[in-house]
């Protein structure tokens, strides 16, 4: 049993999943809803621009980017204020223009800027982390058709790691849902 499987996998290249081209953005919603309702979880829609409402059709959860922004933003602001307090009142106290050592009104601008910097870093790096980027190599890039995803084509991909994955079953389902071109992607 094990032997046969091994020989098969060495003969046949491993499958990453399937890529299906969808004719229009209207159909894309339908396809995603169909996959979602059939119990698929490891599938994705690929579009040249963000299509709103697709997350509902795909059953995705809210993005966690705001949390990263909140935490890093507040952290940045706190760090900015602490730095100024420590430098001005602790590390080397100097009285300047008769102002108190801890001149908080004068420290607000930098506190604010540091908060924004933290928040922006949270947004940008939070996005990269959550979107699993950078990832320069991906099996999908092997498909020539997929090059048009950044131009004017819409795709749905289903990964083989999906628990519901079955090569023939999934392909048929996609075809039933109206996919035009279906391509098996090798890992």
């Amino acid at each position: 049993m094990n032997e046969t499987r091994d020989t098969r996998s060495s003969r046949e290249p491993e499958v990453w999943g399937v890529l299906a081209e969808i004719s229009s953005v209207d159909a894309l919603h339908g396809t995603c809803e169909g996959l979602r309702d059939a119990g698929y979880t490891q599938f994705d829609a690929h579009t040249p621009y963000p299509v709103h409402g697709l997350e509902r059709a795909m059953g995705l959860k809210r993005s966690l980017v705001p949390l990263a922004v909140l935490i890093l933003g507040l952290g940045g602001a706190a760090a900015g204020m602490l730095l100024q307090w420590w430098v001005s009142a602790e590390a080397y106290p100097l009285v300047i223009s008769g102002k108190p050592l801890f001149s908080w009104p004068a420290f607000v601008p930098i506190m604010f800027e540091c908060g924004v910097l933290g928040g922006a870093a949270g947004a940008f790096f939070g996005f990269l982390a959550l979107a699993r980027l950078p990832r320069h190599h991906h099996p999908l890039f092997e498909s020539e058709r997929f090059e048009r995803v950044s131009d004017d084509a819409f795709f749905v991909s289903v990964a083989a790691e999906d628990p519901r994955w079955d090569r023939d079953e999934t392909t048929r389902l996609l075809r039933d849902l109206g996919a035009r071109e279906i391509e098996i992607i090798e890992a």
């Binding site: 709103h52 705001p66 909140l70 009104p105 004068a106 607000v108």
Partner: protein, 401 residues
């Protein structure tokens, strides 16, 4: 298409004929007059206290109405579609301006109690006041007040009347006309509201000056109107009017604007404070010395926390702006904060440290009841949604993306 008035259930667009709303105009009027008369004749705390309290109450409600005018003009200026369903409510709030203008009259006998510069003997011995005498002059003061109040009343009346005419006719030309004049009207508004803020509030401290003062007053009044609009929409929805028309998408947008202006207020307030604190020029710091160093210090700190700190962290969250309960809380909270702000602008001119007085309550209820009465009357008289507005359909279908 879209020229035909959108068909809406009349219950959705109108306040119920009976019930509280029918009584409110009369009750409001009577209550208001009674309270004001009591406050006036009680003369407790002397005329100075009465007039200062009256000024706080009147400016508070006036700033809301003025904010309403700004909101209406802004929607026309930007050709906004999303806000059409709540614009009539703002028009009605602004519609109280002619009436609030009348309530300026009781202040005329109070000029001497309120404004130090109006005393000839004070001017005679104060070179600074003598220098300012051409501006800080009773005749000029009254003329400016008449002009400002007159222009606002005219604008508010005209914008509301035209919008109501559109309810029946659905004429697109009306919107075009309102839009065309909105730019000029906005300039008139910007200049007059600054003059008014300088005259009625800044000159309480005749020596003091700050170029940003007009912007500060504007930021506060905009926070006030946005809070009031959210509150009124929630109340009207409860009463059946606006139900199904105002959605959480509209509340969410109003909430975002409210959040934005809370931050804007803080930005302006901080800029003014920090610059004066930093430069430490005596004739400028006197205003803050009173509010920051002496008896008003705890009040000032509380104001910063209540008007900015707490609402900032509260309104930051998306869900807060999309739930009735949290929205209602924010609206009430910020209206209170705005009142505290107006109080803080006026009262330190009279008092060494904050002290509540019966007159504050009497005048607040007095002016407030009159304001509510007039507003209820305006709201009842015609649909609470601009039914003929060509962009109503867009507004109804509006979704945040």
């Amino acid at each position: 298409m879209a020229t035909a008035p959108t068909t809406l259930d009349s219950d959705q667009a109108r306040l119920p004929e009976k019930g509280v709303w029918k009584l409110l105009p009369t009750v409001g009027m009577v209550t208001g007059v009674v309270f004001l008369l009591v406050a006036g004749f009680l003369a407790q705390g002397g005329p100075e206290r009465f007039f200062h309290s009256y000024l706080v109450s009147w400016v508070f409600f006036l700033s809301l109405a003025l904010g309403g005018l700004f909101f209406v003009l802004l929607q026309h200026l930007t050709r906004a579609g999303w806000s059409v369903v709540v614009r009539r409510v703002a028009e009605d709030v602004a519609g109280t301006l002619p009436f609030l203008a009348l309530l300026f009259v009781p202040l005329i006998p109070g000029i001497h109690s309120l404004y130090h510069w109006s005393h000839e003997e004070a001017v005679a011995e104060d070179p600074l006041l003598a220098h300012k005498a051409p501006w800080l002059d009773e005749g000029r003061f009254l003329a400016a007040a008449v002009l400002c109040l007159g222009l606002w009343s005219l604008l508010a009346w005209w914008y509301r009347r035209e919008s109501r005419r559109q309810d029946e006719s659905g004429e697109i030309e009306i919107t075009e006309r309102l839009q065309r004049w909105s730019a000029l009207a906005m300039i008139v508004y910007g200049v007059t509201q600054s003059v008014a803020a300088f005259d009625w509030l800044m000159s309480l401290d005749a020596h003091w000056y700050s170029t940003i003062y007009g912007v500060y007053f504007f930021s506060g009044s905009t926070v006030g109107i946005l809070a009031l609009l959210i509150g009124l929409a929630l109340i009207l929805e409860r009463q059946g009017a606006l139900r199904g028309l105002v959605t959480f998408e509209h509340y969410h947008d109003l909430g975002k604007l409210l959040f934005g202006f809370v931050v804007f207020w803080a930005y302006i307030a901080f800029s003014q404070f920090m610059l004066i604190w930093y430069a430490a020029i005596p004739e400028e710091t006197l205003w803050y010395a009173r509010r920051w160093e002496q008896g008003w210090r705890p009040y000032s700190i509380a104001l910063a926390v209540i008007h900015f700190g707490i609402p900032f962290f509260f309104l930051l969250f998306r869900d807060v702006k999309r739930r009735r309960a949290t929205l209602a809380l924010s609206a009430i909270w910020l209206l209170v904060a705005h009142y505290l702000d107006v109080y803080w602008l006026v009262m330190p001119a009279l008092l060494e440290s904050p002290g509540f007085h019966l007159q504050d309550l009497l005048t607040f209820v007095g002016v407030g009841a009159l304001f509510v009465g007039v507003l209820a009357r305006l709201l009842r008289r015609h649909p609470v949604v601009p039914l003929g507005d060509p962009r109503l359909a867009e507004s109804l279908a509006f979704e945040n993306v």
